[in-house]
């Protein structure tokens, strides 16, 4: 029914999908699995015609629906082709009722006004809508008064409303689900699977993306494994082999130089107790963790489970609750200013959005935080707020950093926006160093950085730790990097600490830990 042929997609310089091909028959439930960043969501977005795809240069490759070559360039086209999607962040309108949401853009109308004014200006038939909605929900085994507002119903119910909206569509040929069971309980998930089986029996093809491998294995007819944008495995029932699939997902890579083991200090530098951070998309719900003096601690886990929220939370970027202790002393009202003064610095994952002043020169970026927080580089000692800065000193220091970190640039006056990703990250590190922090928290340090610069940055981290005794906390989705340089790796699952693994654990252990399915061997 659906044939994907050599689908490729790049976002700028990064190629996210590399010539992916797969087939889907009518009524087939097809699972799509792979690690973070392997391209699953991008594939779904292309099939759905998400505006982001068109806005970033479209895709290459062919999509054949029922043998006919189709180009899906907007959700409108997708809908017309009978493609529906259950989004991870629901596409529900909170202020409207369940029925209105389920029937949006396809409402039943009064036949009289249909004839008089045409479909668009025809009066909505409220009872008809309600009946349709309740019927769709019944198929899913959910009974719910359809005139409740979506803002008032539970999260798991919202999931079912989202699904009901798609199955109410008459010509639904393909239904795509992106992590549908993430918010569902065990029994709700079973209900969902039942409904999907029923749907597939009626001829709708289903594309099911999930991290819950056991689920995928029990539900799907066929499974495709993606890694780094390529198809690395295709499986059909009954030949599923979980262990091999996991290996395919994580891949076996040549391990580069590891850190030399050293005597580990047991002193706690930073203690985090029951931390809740409300960062949209990455919520922490009660994390408790100790960061030991002088260590390099890795934070790993699936995206959305909270590993990227610790840094922003501590720096006051989002509302938080819980307790944070530095050297035994509790920090009340943690925020950027206090943390910086106490020697804690944070490098955000989105360099261009929050890590650099893109329109400013390299040298201005490097000295900014130090100048603001410590008053370094000031010309005058009194009236700090209005003091001009010592340009000569700044230039000297910046040039020093450029040389030390091998920052490839025309001059220290070059705009940060013109540097490559790796060099930008080096500027960020130099900026953090200028305040001589005791604890450096980094999110996704090598995202968007080329292979060569990656190694240099990792080396820099090792150097800082070794020579300056700096404690580092690195949150990253690149597991192999964490394994190479960290002393311990904490796995964050569903907003809490799942367990702390040693860096020499097997990849498959990590993969299972990420889904909350790993059990520590006694």
């Amino acid at each position: 029914m659906l044939q994907v042929r050599h689908l490729s997609k790049s976002f700028g310089a990064v190629q996210v999908l590399k010539s992916v091909s797969l087939d889907l028959a009518a009524g087939e439930i097809h699972g799509l699995i792979g690690a973070n960043g392997c391209g699953k969501t991008t594939l779904l977005n292309i099939l759905f015609g998400h505006p982001l795809i068109a806005a970033t240069g479209g895709y290459s490759g062919d999509l054949l629906l029922e043998g006919r070559a189709t180009r899906v360039d907007s959700p409108v086209t997708a809908l017309r082709c009978g493609i529906g999607m259950i989004h991870q962040e629901f596409a529900l309108i909170p202020s409207m009722t369940v029925a209105e949401n389920i029937k949006i853009n396809r409402e039943r109308t009064q036949p009289l006004t249909d004839r008089l004014f045409g479909r668009t200006l025809s009066l909505v038939h409220r009872r008809g809508n309600r009946d349709d909605a309740e019927r769709a929900l019944a198929t899913l085994g959910v009974s719910l008064p359809a005139d409740m507002r979506v803002s008032q119903i539970a999260l798991s119910t919202k999931q079912f409303v989202e699904i009901a909206r798609e199955i109410d569509k008459r010509r639904l040929q393909l239904l795509m689900l992106d992590e549908p069971s993430a918010v569902l309980s065990q029994s709700d998930t079973e209900r969902l699977m039942e409904a999907l089986r029923k749907l597939s029996a009626e001829g709708t093809a289903i594309l099911y993306v999930s991290h819950r491998l056991e689920e995928v294995i029990s539900l799907c007819d066929r499974i495709t494994v993606l890694r780094e944008g390529k198809v690395v495995g295709q499986w059909a029932r009954p030949g599923f082999d979980l262990r091999t699939m996991v290996e395919q997902m994580s891949g076996r890579q040549v391990v580069k130089a590891r850190r030399t083991s050293k005597k580990r200090a047991e002193e706690v530098l930073c203690r985090i107790e029951d931390l809740h951070v409300d960062k949209p998309g990455e919520r922490l719900q009660g994390l408790s963790l100790d960061v030991k003096q002088g260590e390099i601690l890795g934070l790993a886990g699936l995206s959305g489970h909270g590993k990227l929220a610790i840094g922003p939370g501590i720096m006051g970027m989002h509302p938080i609750a819980g307790r944070i202790y530095l050297n035994g002393e509790q920090i009340r009202n943690p925020g950027a200013s206090i943390m910086l003064h106490k020697g804690v610095c944070f490098l955000p994952e989105d360099r261009t959005a929050a890590g650099l002043l893109m329109d400013h020169a390299i040298m201005d970026n490097i000295v900014f935080t130090a100048a603001q927080v410590d008053g370094r580089f000031a010309r005058t000692r009194w009236l700090k707020a209005l003091s001009l800065l010592n340009r000569a000193e700044i230039q000297r220091y910046a040039q020093d950093c450029v040389d030390r970190f091998h920052i490839k640039c025309r001059s220290i006056r070059q705009r940060a926006a013109e540097l490559s990703g790796g060099n930008q990250q080096k500027v960020c590190i130099a900026r953090a160093l200028a305040i001589q922090p005791k604890l450096l928290i980094v999110s996704e340090p090598t995202r968007g950085v080329d292979v060569v610069a990656k190694e240099i940055i990792l080396e820099i981290f090792l150097e800082l730790n070794r020579d300056l005794g700096m404690t580092l906390v690195i949150a990253s989705s690149e597991l192999d990097e964490l394994k190479r340089i960290c002393d311990r790796i904490a796995v964050i699952y569903k907003g809490r600490l799942f367990d702390i693994l040693a860096p020499d654990c097997e990849d498959r252990d990590f993969t299972l830990a990420f889904s909350g399915e790993w059990k520590r061997k006694p």
Binding site: H50, P51, S74, P75, V76, A78, L79, M85, H87, A91, L92, I93, P94, S95, M96, E100, I104, N105, E107, T109, T113, F117, R119, T120, L121, S122, L123, V124, D278, K279, P280, G316, M317, H318, P319, G335
Partner: protein, 348 residues
């Protein structure tokens, strides 16, 4: 859950105080109110649909008003009076309103998030263009057919055009007179008809689309809705209604202040809508209807109240100007703050 809105209550209290201090009779106030309800009703109704579509207050309804005035001037120019004249004005004005509504809609789609400030500037721009055409265009590039409406120097239209020929076409139809209060029933029904039209639109499929786009343009796109097109439709309808509203206004007053009649129509209409309890994110028909009563009562009694309390009617006028702008400022403050709290809870 609709939050309790204190604004209508405040307006209610101010109106009561105002009536008391002005010493005006209820009968007088009611008569004035009915007249203003007819004159300004449709203008206020024109604001509802853009608010529903998430575009905020449409200050560019002045453009719709100017379209109506273009129609009126053309009618006077070609000396088309009576019912025919009125129909032609409606037609011509309507066509202009559709065209300009479309243009404004296209503009606003490029300034998402800053629609309100854009509509204010568009309003100013349109006013300048309009003034250019009628102050410098007529007599130079455009040849007038009716010398009576031109300035003595031959270029430019007079400041004021008499609309006596249109005045009694529909104004006094079905006039009833209960206890000294004059109610032109036809006109009142006409305004209510427009109110019904707005209510109708909001209960159609289009209405659902408007609400979806108004809540979240991005989600609407994911649901397969052409959000940009819906927004253009919203502004076009708004401009059209504004045009009709201005026609009703002008023929009711009986004369046209060519260069100033449309000025401030946007401010007062927005203030009236907000006075009735609407927010910049949600507006219903009853907000408009209640708001006109509340706002205009205050408007009517302020100068006299100022005279009685401070011996200076100007103070009463300043008060009501402050109320008009202040209501909008206050609504903006409250609504934007609420919206920020909702979508950016992480902002310190």
């Amino acid at each position: 859950m609709p939050r309790f809105n204190i604004v209508p209550v405040v307006f209610g209290m101010l109106s009561v105080l105002g009536i008391y201090f002005s010493g005006m009779s209820i009968k007088f106030v009611l008569n004035e109110l009915i007249v203003r309800f007819i004159r300004d009703g449709v203008m206020v109704l024109a604001l509802i649909i853009p608010v529903t579509a998430g575009m905020g207050l449409n200050f560019a309804i002045v453009v719709g008003a100017m379209c109506a005035q273009v129609g009126l001037i053309l009618a006077v120019d070609y000396q088309l009076y009576g019912v025919t004249g009125l129909l032609i004005i409606t037609g011509v004005g309507g066509v202009f309103a559709l065209i300009f509504g479309l243009l404004i809609g296209i503009c606003l789609n490029r300034v998402k998030g800053k629609e309100m400030i854009a509509t204010i500037i568009i309003g100013f721009l349109a006013t300048s263009l309009y003034q250019l055409v009628f102050m410098a265009g007529y007599g130079t590039v455009i040849t007038p057919h009716n010398a009576e409406m031109m300035l003595s120097r031959g270029i430019g239209i007079r400041n004021m055009i008499d609309l006596e020929h249109f005045r009694n076409v529909m104004d006094n139809l079905w006039m009833i007179d209960p206890g000294g209060i004059q109610i032109p029933v036809f006109m009142v029904l006409l305004v209510l008809l427009f109110a019904l039209a707005v209510k109708y639109i909001l209960s159609t499929r289009l209405g659902q689309l408007l609400r979806a786009v108004g809540e979240s343009s991005d989600k609407a796109v994911l649901l397969g809705i052409d959000a940009d097109r819906v927004r253009i439709i919203a502004i076009t309808i708004s401009t059209l209604f504004a045009c009709f509203g201005q026609i009703i206004y002008s023929q009711n007053i009986g004369m046209l202040n060519v260069y100033t009649a449309h000025l401030n129509s946007d401010i007062f209409s927005c203030a009236a809508l907000l006075a009735g309890g609407a927010t910049i994110y949600q507006a219903k028909v009853h907000h408009a209807l209640i708001g006109i009563v509340l706002f205009h009562t205050l408007f009517i009694v302020s100068p006299q109240a100022g005279q009685n309390v401070f011996q200076n009617p100007a103070l009463g006028e300043y008060f009501r100007t402050f109320v008009a702008y202040g209501t909008i400022a206050f609504a903006l403050m409250m609504n934007i703050q609420q919206e920020n709290r909702r979508s950016y809870p992480e902002r310190p």
